[in-house]
């Protein structure tokens, strides 16, 4: 593990935990164990909570976990690839509608539609991505926004197929999953797997290429990378997981409706990512927790939850742009630098 003189010991052992703000600190093998320990403990604790928390909270957590996946998948585009998409709700709603309409029109079982959801998400992401990614930056955002609204209008107007503004209600979720505890454990399991896969994407050569493209698109082009293609791949992966999140949402809501496709719904995972920290992997998930719990708690005490939410978001955007985890991460780095052996 000792490289040429001047190279930090332990550098060659592991891929860097590269965050969006470039604070690439590598971890040697020795540090890997504590790094794995925390997530494992976290998962065990969350599973245990299934037997400790009330039904209401478990139901809320189902929604939160779906949103956590939604937000993390969106952040693959936002934080990693630097692509601001106001259209991820297209896939979220698509996932939800896949489960709902699959049952409604063709009596497909949940297990089938649940698996179909991410596949459809990926498939639909291809044409949308092909078109939208031709536009840069701002126009990309607006293009995705248009797709979101288009999807919303289609869902609302095609009454025969989608039941329009009423949405689809029914027993498409198997009875076993309608119990809060089992539903929660199922959603938790899917969340863990999804986040692991998304984490893997982040920490692969592809993930690094995405970040490099984000930092300097033209340079990567000059270095031989087909930027358009790689952005498309990211878009497809994000679409698949957003759709999966939508299907997870159905376990909680047991319904699907057009608002899930709306551009303002697309804005939610972006906010969650900003709150928790776009530059960190778990930031969006943390943001989802804060956003949803915040919303649910606020709604109970205060009828002006939109006001509070808006004010909080504004404050974060203005004064704390790295988000919660981002800020903590930077603080940690500063402390480590002070106390370390640099």
């Amino acid at each position: 593990m000792y490289g040429p003189p001047g190279v930090d010991v332990g550098d060659t052992a592991d891929e860097s935990v590269s965050t969006g703000d470039g604070s690439a600190r590598l971890s040697g093998r020795a540090e890997l164990v504590p790094r794995l320990l925390v997530p494992i403990v976290l998962v065990v604790v969350m599973a245990a909570l299934a037997f400790l928390l009330s039904d209401n909270v478990l139901l809320t957590l189902q929604e939160v976990l779906a949103l956590a996946v939604f937000a993390t998948a969106t952040n693959l585009l936002l934080g990693q690839a630097g692509l601001v998409s106001f259209g991820q709700a297209v896939f979220y709603g698509l996932g939800a509608y896949t489960v709902a309409l699959g049952w409604l029109h063709w009596q497909l079982p949940f297990w089938a539609t649940f698996v179909m959801a991410p596949v459809l998400g990926a498939l639909v992401a291809v044409p949308i991505g092909l078109v939208a990614l031709r536009a840069r930056r701002l126009y990309f955002a607006l293009s995705t926004l248009a797709f979101s609204e288009l999807a919303y209008q289609l869902a609302e107007s095609r009454y025969d197929f989608t039941k329009g503004a009423n949405g689809v209600f029914g027993t498409f979720v198997p009875t076993s999953l309608t119990f809060p505890r089992t539903g929660y454990l199922f959603v938790l399991a899917v969340t863990v797997v999804s986040l692991l896969l998304l984490w893997k994407v982040n920490h692969s050569p592809f993930g690094l290429v995405l970040r490099a493209i984000r930092e300097n698109r033209d340079r990567m082009q000059a270095l031989g990378v087909n930027v358009y293609l790689h952005q498309l791949i990211a878009f497809v992966i994000s679409g698949a997981f957003c759709a999966l999140a939508g299907a997870m949402f159905v376990v909680f809501s047991q319904s699907s409706y057009p608002e899930l496709l709306d551009w303002t719904t697309s804005g939610e995972p972006i906010f969650m990512a900003v709150i928790g920290g776009m530059g960190t992997f778990l930031g969006p998930a943390v943001g989802a927790f804060i956003y949803q719990f915040g919303h649910d708690e606020l709604v109970r005490y205060v009828s002006d939850w939109q006001l509070v939410l808006g004010a909080v978001l504004l404050a974060i955007v203005m004064f704390w742009p790295e988000g919660l985890l981002g800020g903590l991460g930077r603080l940690g780095k500063i402390l480590r630098k002070r106390g370390g052996n640099r």
């Binding site: 078109v131 840069r136 930056r137 607006l142 248009a146 289609l154 978001l313 504004l314 742009p321």
Partner: protein, 291 residues
């Protein structure tokens, strides 16, 4: 199609185009000078409309006329507060940050509107002078449609005059290229930014009043209108007033034609159109490719 029917459709299309233009003009003006996408533009619009409903409730005869002045002023005031209090601090930051800030403002304003005006749907009727129909070549045409078209022409002409024939207009057009050079030549760029933003807001508020008699005034109209305004502005090319006019015309025609030709799909046409335009010419018809 006979002449009468054609005239009805034409006026309908022009009226839709006019409404869209007035709303989009402010949005594209602000982007042109400040390079800022203001999602809360719809909020100014909504407040203009809601204020009109309150003033009409207070005085059925003069309410709307007062609103014609009060709403734009209210919106302009809101604009000043927003620009000075929030946006000014964010000019150096990324566009996403600015976008999110305006989205947060959208939420805040939406909530405050609920407090002031409640959840219900409101409506106002046009003033008696401009109610009813007029007959053009045998076709009945709502008089108010003509009013809106007239308003759009006035707004468009005024903006054109302002931007091409006044010093202020020249400054507004120059500030986006090189604000530092402009500041060095003695122009108070900060106030210019505030002024332009307030003007954009004013236009939004004005459009709210003018369009109020033609539609339901309700919560959610802020999010709805902002998308339409965007589509118009983007198709025409962000930053270009002429572009906004062209975009509005295109959308107006498409919507009118679409409504009679394939009504159940009509609501999707404008999105398809925007996607199409962005796919072929990503910076809009009259936009500049640098973005």
């Amino acid at each position: 199609m006979d002449l009468a029917s054609f005239i009805t459709h034409l006026v309908g299309a022009l009226s839709t185009a006019s409404s869209l233009f007035i709303v989009a003009a402010g949005l594209t003006l602000v982007f042109g000078a400040l390079r800022l996408i203001n999602l809360a533009h719809g909020s100014f619009y909504m407040y203009g409309a809601f204020l009109a409903t309150s003033l009409v409730a207070w005085s059925a005869h003069t309410g709307l006329w007062i609103a014609l002045v009060a709403s734009p002023l209210l919106a302009a005031g809101m604009g000043v507060v927003v620009e000075v209090g929030v946006l000014r601090r964010l000019y150096a930051r990324e566009h996403l940050t600015q976008l999110l800030a305006t989205f947060a403002l959208l939420l805040i304003f939406a909530d405050l509107a609920l407090r002031f005006w409640g959840k219900g749907v409101r409506s106002v009727s046009p003033p008696p002078i401009v109610q009813g129909n007029v007959h053009l070549a045998g076709a009945p045409v709502p008089l108010y449609d003509l009013v809106i078209i007239g308003a759009a022409v006035i707004v468009g002409a005024s903006l054109w005059l302002l931007l091409s024939h006044t010093t202020l207009g020249w400054k507004i057009r120059a500030v986006v290229d090189d604000p530092e050079v402009l500041a060095a030549s003695g122009v108070n760029v900060r106030m210019l930014y505030t002024g332009v933003f307030a003007l954009g807001a004013l236009l939004a508020g004005l459009s709210g009043v003018i369009i109020a008699p033609q539609q339901a005034v309700e919560p959610g109209m802020d999010a709805q209108i902002i998308v339409a305004a965007f589509i118009v502005a983007v198709i025409g090319g962000l930053g270009s007033i002429t572009g906004a006019a062209i975009g509005a015309l295109v959308i107006g025609i498409v919507e009118t034609v679409g409504a009679s030709w394939a009504p159940s799909w009509a609501s999707t046409f404008i999105y398809l159109l925007m996607i199409l335009v962005l796919a072929v010419r990503p910076w809009g018809l009259l936009g500049t490719p640098e973005r």
